[in-house]
Symmetry: C2
Subunit: 413 residues, 2 copies
């Protein structure tokens, strides 16, 4: 697709220039953050148009809310951009270095990844977040948002481009794909030679499509079928508190819990206690045969419930014979995002953390903490659920690569 | 393809077991190294069969040599396995860690990647090298070698499997794809859900095929169209020495130089000097219009020469107007492996290293040093020319991922 190849070429050129911009990245992003506020009329009016069009096509209330920008939300977006601006530059860090016996001085130094593609859905705040993170790490970014938000995204991108260009950066380090057809998404997935990595941000369907079709390197993000296992030796009030928080504090996000596994020896006592907490928020409980009689009002779980990221006030519950059965269940159904054991036993904690192969493994804490900010990593571009390159929250330090620089004085081999 | 799915399932199971084997990995690999020597009769006789079959199909001399095993080569293979066995375990290292203000203790810990697929060509020593590296890093490996080496590979794998199993490891942590058809290679590239990463080791054709067709994450390796740029301020005898070494010390490997770029101001003096060194090894020189009259016996270069990894006693030579032109030429034609500047100018050195986006960038040293052993990283599984996950020589520390382990005492968000 020629549009995409054009964007790719411009991004490559911008990325090369960006390598030499160093500290200008900070001033440019501070300016871009300010511009989002200064130009808020333009952005909000374009967002209004998006909302009108979306209402006409019958978009649901929750989706409309995700799409909506307000002065307050714009302020949050601007603040996020400014925070990224002020963060430590992830480029140029010496990761390691040594002088070899032959006198070669070898340094391993962080460098930008290059050109990053982001495919995302209805939320316009992703536009400014992703652009700021990519740019701070020295990367050019090609953004491909959803059709519903095209006017908002166009306004945000044009405001940011203008601001960074005034600050001396190439405008093309932030580009938006104007064409929001399926074909443009597909073309982005196949933009070999221009994209160094493609990051999908959105629901399970989008991520699956990208994983299956991309020919460029991809980082899989975000789908979280997260589990909490309540061990035989658990502190039960703590278990109830953690399950309640992980399920209900924000059910629509990827680090919310979706399945509860409870050891058979304490199921009789634990399940009514946990269920009673969950009933405060009218959580629907889908229980296996052993859990069903212990939870008033629960309904039988089907096989698909173990696989589902509900993103809603729904929890699948299963009684297991042992920690090993819990680990096996998790190995089979988890998406590798976040899992938790509630236990007082050191041995159980050690076995669980050593056996569960997910990005974040918790002992006695809510899965809701899997987040760049909560981990102290700063703003994140997504949560990686794959094992190559980056795992878990991806912040600025995950948006770089490295290269070896070797200084010699004539060494040959 | 059912064979591959079976291997995938067994690898997944083996990998889970391997996670708990810790120090047993070392004893198992030491045993596997010894077994290669103890069972050398079996391996050499199978290799003899491979050689016979290959000769019958008219395989060339160089390829036959790559395929051939000798007692000495087996000894080198065994020694390599033992060295990997004794290396520091790359799994379980704490990369970073902190206690958050809310009391959560967060540690970022290295863990195995999981299941690694390796597609390679005729060299049977890759079998033992790759198996040892993957296993030491806690990974199960699925090896898919070339048809020509199938009997040798089968013998090597069966000897190693037996040895590691006796030492208490699951035999299925090392598996060989018996089917060497194109279909089996394709099936391996599409083994989503079983392979955590696929690493091709071989020529440019193999690597291109894998990059274009793989649906699993891939690490691109090895193609090296490496450049040497001789700056205006170069020490010319040093330049001649470095070019001679980088081109002729082992032309068939990926870190050998393929193109020489020379600044116009010193071309008249430098090119005859360099060409005279290269003539010692009868290097064929393909020169651009400005270089041609300066190098006796050179022939005109065509566009395709700038793109070609000759892997032979052939060098493309071009005179450039400036360092900037050298950098642009490299950006256009390089495969991102290794490039070198020869210069006495600090400014030129800084500009070159800051502008050239390759895995290894040299100042005044031969590109031939891009190698795990030479960099002090130990044995390598390949040289990554992509920017995700690992770049440059990939040793044990590049064959792991990491996970976050978070210890709390009831924290909720």
């Amino acid at each position: 697709m020629t549009e995409l190849i054009e964007l790719g070429k411009k991004a490559k050129a911008a990325e090369k220039e960006l390598r030499r911009c160093g500290v200008k990245k900070e001033t440019a992003l501070l300016a871009a953050g300010k511009a989002l506020l200064l130009e808020q009329k333009k952005i909000l009016s374009q967002n209004e148009e998006d909302l009108k069009a979306a209402e006409e096509t019958g978009m649901g209330k929750a989706m409309l809310d995700r799409l909506r920008l307000t002065p307050q939300r714009l302020e949050e977006m601007a603040k996020a951009v400014e925070e990224v601006a002020k963060a430590q530059d992830p480029v140029g860090r010496v990761l390691s270095g040594e002088t070899r016996p032959n006198g070669l001085q070898i340094r391993k130094i962080t460098v930008p990844l290059g050109v990053i593609g982001i495919i995302f859905e209805a939320r316009p705040n992703v536009t400014s977040d992703a652009a700021a993170l990519c740019l701070k790490a020295g990367n050019a970014v090609i953004l491909r948002g959803g059709k519903e938000a095209i006017r908002s995204n166009r306004a945000i991108v044009s405001v940011m481009r203008e601001a960074v260009e005034k600050a001396g950066l190439p405008a093309d380090c932030i580009q938006l794909v104007e064409d929001t057809s399926r074909e443009s998404a597909r073309a982005l997935m196949e933009l070999t030679g221009y994209l160094d990595v493609l990051i999908p941000r959105g629901g399970a369907g989008l991520i699956r499509t990208v994983m299956e079709n991309a020919k460029v390197p991809v980082i899989e993000t975000g789908v979280g079928n997260c589990h909490i296992y309540v061990d035989r030796d658990a502190d039960l009030p703590m278990a109830a508190q953690i399950v309640f928080n992980a399920k209900t504090s924000r059910p629509s996000v990827c680090n919310a819990a979706e399945t509860l596994l409870v050891h058979q020896d304490i199921a009789k006592e634990a399940l009514p206690l946990i269920a009673s907490r969950l009933s405060e928020k009218q959580v629907e409980i889908r229980a296996d045969a052993r859990a069903l009689p212990l939870i008033p009002g629960s309904i039988p779980a089907g096989e698909e419930d173990w696989e589902t990221e509900f993103l809603d006030y729904i929890l699948a519950v299963k009684v297991v014979d042992s920690l090993e059965e819990a680990v096996s269940h998790i190995a089979r159904y988890s998406t590798g995002h976040s899992e938790c054991i509630v236990t007082k036993s050191l041995e159980s904690a050690e076995t669980f953390t050593a056996s569960v192969d997910s990005a974040a493994v918790y002992v006695n804490a809510s899965t809701r903490f899997t987040d760049g900010g909560q981990f102290g990593l700063g703003a994140e571009i997504g949560i990686s659920t794959q094992k190559l390159h980056a795992r878990g929250p991806m912040g600025l330090n995950e948006l770089v690569s490295y290269q070896y620089v070797i200084i010699g004085n004539g060494q040959v081999r």
